[in-house]
Subunit: 776 residues, 2 copies
Amino acid sequence: MDTAMNYERAKQWILAEDRFTPESLGKCESVMCLGNGYMGLRSALEEEYVNEKRDLFIAGTFNKFDESEVTELPNAADVTSMELHLKSERFSLESGRIENYERFLNLKTGELVRNVIWISPRGKRVRLTFKRIVSMKRMHVIAQQVSITPLNRDMKIRLRTGIDGQVTNSGAQHFSEGEKRFYDHKYMQYVSRTTESGITFVTNSAVKREGFGSGEEGRIGMGRRHVYCDYEWDAAMDETVTFEKISNVHTLRDLEHAGRTVQELQEESVRELQEALKCGYDILARESAAAWEEKVWSRARISIDSENELDELAVRFAQYHMAVMTPAHDERMNIGAKGLSGEGYKGHTFWDADIFVLPYFTFTFPETARKLVKYRYLTLPGAHKKAQENGYAGAQFPWESAWYDDGEVTPAFGDVDIVTGRPQTIWSGKIEQHITSDVVFAMWQYYQAAGDQAFMDDYGYELLFDTAVFWASRLEYSADDGKYHINNVIGPDEYKEHVNDNAYTNYMAWWNLNKAVSCYEELSEEKPGLLGKLSEKLNLESYYEKWRELAGKIYLPQPGADLVIPQDASYLTLEDIDLTKYKEQEEVLLIYRDYNAEQINKLQVSKQADIMILFYLLENYFTDEVKKANWNYYEPRTLHDSSLSLSTHCILANDIGDRDMAYSLYQKSLNIDMGPFMKSSDGGIHSASIGGIWQSVVFGFGGVRVLEGNLRIRPSLPKKWRKLSFHLNWHGQDLFFTVTKESVKIENRTRVKAADIEIAGKVYQVFDEIEVSTER
Amino acid sequence: MDTAMNYERAKQWILAEDRFTPESLGKCESVMCLGNGYMGLRSALEEEYVNEKRDLFIAGTFNKFDESEVTELPNAADVTSMELHLKSERFSLESGRIENYERFLNLKTGELVRNVIWISPRGKRVRLTFKRIVSMKRMHVIAQQVSITPLNRDMKIRLRTGIDGQVTNSGAQHFSEGEKRFYDHKYMQYVSRTTESGITFVTNSAVKREGFGSGEEGRIGMGRRHVYCDYEWDAAMDETVTFEKISNVHTLRDLEHAGRTVQELQEESVRELQEALKCGYDILARESAAAWEEKVWSRARISIDSENELDELAVRFAQYHMAVMTPAHDERMNIGAKGLSGEGYKGHTFWDADIFVLPYFTFTFPETARKLVKYRYLTLPGAHKKAQENGYAGAQFPWESAWYDDGEVTPAFGDVDIVTGRPQTIWSGKIEQHITSDVVFAMWQYYQAAGDQAFMDDYGYELLFDTAVFWASRLEYSADDGKYHINNVIGPDEYKEHVNDNAYTNYMAWWNLNKAVSCYEELSEEKPGLLGKLSEKLNLESYYEKWRELAGKIYLPQPGADLVIPQDASYLTLEDIDLTKYKEQEEVLLIYRDYNAEQINKLQVSKQADIMILFYLLENYFTDEVKKANWNYYEPRTLHDSSLSLSTHCILANDIGDRDMAYSLYQKSLNIDMGPFMKSSDGGIHSASIGGIWQSVVFGFGGVRVLEGNLRIRPSLPKKWRKLSFHLNWHGQDLFFTVTKESVKIENRTRVKAADIEIAGKVYQVFDEIEVSTER
């Protein structure tokens, strides 16, 4: 099976689909989704299809259906649907004949355009053009335009469009029926409230038409959870009628509406809509494109001069989606594992956000990164609660996190267990504990890159100490070896449940404790007042000594004679099976068709990077020989059944000097969302993979790394690449890198202070611009 | 617009559709729906379509989404859907080409069959046959069969089918996510609970296949609210593979499961499914057809020898649907205004049930009628509550009624008000008060027909007195004329809101009071003990005198000089407008596009029969001249925008001797559900209209009436009819009538006692058989 993605016409900015394939509806809805961080709108077509998923998410508006489920981002009332009839024939590309079809998302402007020439089953030929944006300028506004031209005869055309609150999250309805009304027979309004979290949503829509002889208005109507207008006209051959539909969505959870009443919001949002309608589609689209340029591309545009144009398109695709998915406007929410592009993972935040996506913001948009890290600080009460419930102290971060004060929201059950016939238990929420050090690691990276001491003083140290308190309570002393262990966990490789001494988990806990020790020492010398305040708040009295002891005695799995580090205490003793069947398939999670979780647990098979991600984050602690040996051991046993896996391996392949392998893994990682497999992205794009594409480019091929607080660049361009340029923000300086096979050029575009950068073992102070040869 | 209904091949039992028209999906789902009174299954096609409404209702399992809505029958998990792929092409009649299509519902056997030859867009030609029943024998069982034959090449075929709990009531989800599981990799189970009423549903499904070489099983899978099996096979040209899917649904509200635990129900229902699966489709279909014959047709078959075959089909269509919609198994529920065939009116019971549908059961299946009347007795606590809340005494029945102890459940708002742009207020729940006497009238009719004195003693008298108490508290004395009035009501004609002295309401209240007076007198003579008990229970002490006084002084609108009885105090003074535009259209409620309720209230326009239904129920109180004068006045002003209107007018046209008009109204009334207008039945069939078809035949053309406790027959066959035969159950005797233009033949098939029947002014005692000439 193959999607109709057309990258021929890519031209670096255009994601195009050049034929209509019902099988890839879901994929295109996800990969072509629109948004601005406040909202995410799946690109379901205007006319409805079986198996479509028409979703609109407003970041942070979580709701829980009932006590048997966990909270999720609810699917807000739809405004995009347009039911079009040529007399009695409903326009649908599944019927009749398609003479022309193209759809393209312009990543630069955020505009989605579709051109169709369709011949109805009864022979009516019509040209249709659909355009759509979610405004990057007015964060509540969605604008659509549709142009209709009969091509072979006059015809009667009917159009119904409105606000449809019948949509659900795959059957879960999160809203009350709500209030429907029209203002001036023109402005449709739908007001509804989430059932559990009680968030009021106000959705408005209005239509304006051009090309009509008469000034006739649409006929207004209401149905259950539905308010709409019907238009009907005699369309003349070769004459184009254009409809513009402008809509907006506001909620009382929005910071800007704090303290407002529902009625105030109703009135204000209608006023906003009236203004937007006055502008019309073209102006709204233009100003939104300008906002994309100003907010995103002028600050972060990456260029790759490659024999394969897809390489550049992919990283821009990643940047586009990171802008769409990230709620940069509100620190009470974070990035979902599927962004705002689908119902998968319910809008929840995992370590994907901290380890895979956050670095892009840390190194490009530090003001946004600050908010994303601050979110974790705001979730501390939930982390305390989780630790307490599990019998620990301090802050244990939720495996899945939603609204900042929701705490742990991992669901209890997943897909079918093929042995028992019942749903599998999801253990991550209970025992996948590395998330706690991941959060601290990502925060520390932000601190180092941004040099944001105020953040550390206000929030960072507290987060660090609080998590160290958790680890101190979590470690288990064994009299057998006099070491501290972490038993019964899941590491990054989720195919291994209930393991002891997972290498990644132990090393990262050790790093977390060590960092607490060194910061404690530093503060006690330099900021005793702050330390005193924190000690009081967190009861740190005796912790410093304890942390020192634990950090010294935590069990850290060491390389064996063959230099292989055991992923956990039992992995190397498990049965090895032939994985060819699964490695060769592009479809993921196939192994669940043959084994249940308990059985997979007994095989030397990994879902994803585990030791590799450890090497990536703590690269200084392992030698190149150890890295290579482990690569050779683990890579063949890794199915890459998680979207978090390929980019890590890509970066590691660069580290161990295998450029071809790195490039080939980059190609594979692009395919996770942009590739031909049609079902991969139905539930939404993979935000960790998206972040990983950027990391593969900048950290992998660009060779950028922060080690002990220092910025280093050691590029290693793939054979097909001639040039790579990107931005990095380091201590407030916007550094623009141009990397070729021969040299690295760095411009400091901020020029407020010099940036220290290590290139090929030497540190340069870059105040304005330098170029360093990297030829050997 | 025209549906593809084909009555050519009707042959008295077959409702057929001979081409696929997406526009009439909803209509066919309703008019071809299957059921057995326990459940109603809309006939959505196996493959899914945009704009389909795939509903399965279990009678009486009401649930309320939240406090802002009223309770409704929830849409239970779907088992009918089958997604079929020929390689990557999804089978859908909207794509590719249809070479052959026919679908027919056999009213006699309750089986729905569809034959299709389809050519996929890429040229694969395949024959498909789908069959389906809801068992009339095993009330929890649904059986399906699909046969698939490649006709022009070998092809890979995939089929997914399971239990889908993602369905909603137009967006309102009434169930928790629930529990999913497989037994033996074969029996799928989905257990969910209604969110507010807490009713546990257990749905099971299993598939068996024939025609496969291998014994390969389907692959099991789970998704959100979804459990399913995937089948994939290489289908050889000209070889037929047949799947049978057997499913069942049980709930803990079912009487038979009283006291059971969820686990017991899970196990027992799987056992039932295993047995049914062993039988297989053909046996299940045969035994269900036999049950239809035994339970329905052998006792109630109506034959009409007419030049127009549709006349007979229509009355059987009505009988079929009354069997499907009526929960004869459980007196805690009643008949919905849309039966169990759609979401319209939310499964609620209106006066439609008592006045329009109940008579069929009263005169044909008295044991079922008894339960339906008993239901009203069980709802007395809700009726007391409603009276109290409105400041009255006694029992005021809810305008809309659901589960027996729900009380009033009329929603507060309806469709858009085209003037204000807001939803219209629905006033019926507050002021449409005639329902209270309607209930008593229908109960009285049952008592008279069945002669069920035990019912009267146990429940009937209490119901009668309790409602008379209500009317006594409701009447308003006016010193101006020394009369009692009923102000601010809605009569049957719902286009007139807030009127005073609605003729129908006043006369029926008077009838209710009079009946209480006469029964009181009778009991005080014959059953003083019973009367004493009732007096104590209802505090009747002083009521007898009061009822007498009120019955004597209630204002009863009288014919004027032109013999026209004012429908209410103001109707005759309102503005007359030209109604041609609305009278000529088959679409109903068109007037709301031009006027809002307040404006319609000021026009001489009626939605439906008002004075006419009064003449019909209390025919002895009005002269033929008065009837004719009022017919001539009101019929032209009546838009028949309610499905309750045409059959009443049909009967009245017979009464006033206009046979052609009667027959033409009969034809029109058939069209309400069976007719060509495609959107009329989307929300379900119209149970009052369905009951009205039977009444038009038996009470209209058959001329059957009960007057002062006596059975009378005065037939008046339409010109096109040669013979009409029907059953009537009178005082326990099954009387079989054969009516021609020349005579009436009556067989008493029970022959236990003689039945007194008045024909042409003379009373005959029918013990075995008589034939009376009716020629004049």
